[in-house]
Symmetry: C2
């Protein structure tokens, strides 16, 4: 089930860390927030409660695996979890590691940038994230 | 386990819709977004993955019950779910019903208001929400 003009249906130019039959996990670049990831449900579904109980559990398991992997790799000050999509109602969860020197700390990432962060991801980050996610969620189709 | 100077530990002046042994659900007023609710974990814990598997499941069940109740009562355009707490690291999930006439639609609720909404909650909303949450999560201690 896909919708025209929906970026999450198209799924172009994504840096996929893990991919299952129903959902995928991507690393987002060029946000100013290093390590920002998303869990994206493949079908064009609006809300978590539009899914079956089993599918809801799959999404939550992916969010939790992602949070655990980001904490293990980056030791962030805080993890932010958010499923918004008000203007693009295709179910996805942002999972964002927050640091005291990130552009909007301690405000939400959607507010105006207060500073430029020099933070860069450690070498091999994406590969290790992919390994951790496959260990937690099963082998990836990526 | 509580922390001094933490509003979610103090829990003062909350409009509680449901209360369990480990967490509570509150209706937030005076935000400009009618129906904004929070699931608040009682202990001063920072992250979802700081909890045991059983406790994580309890939080997620509360978020899902809250989403279902808000959708049934208000038929929002979209539900937003967010666990941020970057400046106040005490685990809580915002569950916010979004409408096309709300102050920041389609942007996140944390951005500057673009309009004043005349929306008011239907009469008996809080009582019906409390009933729905008790049905879904078990009798409330409120």
């Amino acid at each position: 089930m896909t919708s025209q003009n929906c970026a999450h249906c198209a799924g172009l130019n994504e840096h996929r860390l893990w991919e299952g039959e129903r959902q995928r996990i991507v690393l987002v670049h060029d946000t100013g927030f290093e390590g920002w990831c998303r869990v994206i449900w493949n079908d064009h579904v609006s809300e978590l409660t539009d899914l079956s109980g089993e599918d809801r559990q799959a999404v939550i398991s992916a969010v939790i695996a992602l949070e655990e992997a980001l904490r293990a790799e980056l030791q962030p000050w805080k993890i932010n979890i958010a499923a918004l999509g008000t203007g693009a109602p295709h179910l996805h969860f942002h999972v964002v590691p927050r640091f005291r020197d990130d552009p909007t700390f301690p405000d939400p990432v959607w507010l105006a940038s207060q500073r430029q962060s020099d933070r860069v991801l450690p070498e091999g980050f994406a590969d290790r994230m992919a390994q951790r996610l496959s260990l937690a969620l099963g082998a990836s189709a990526v």
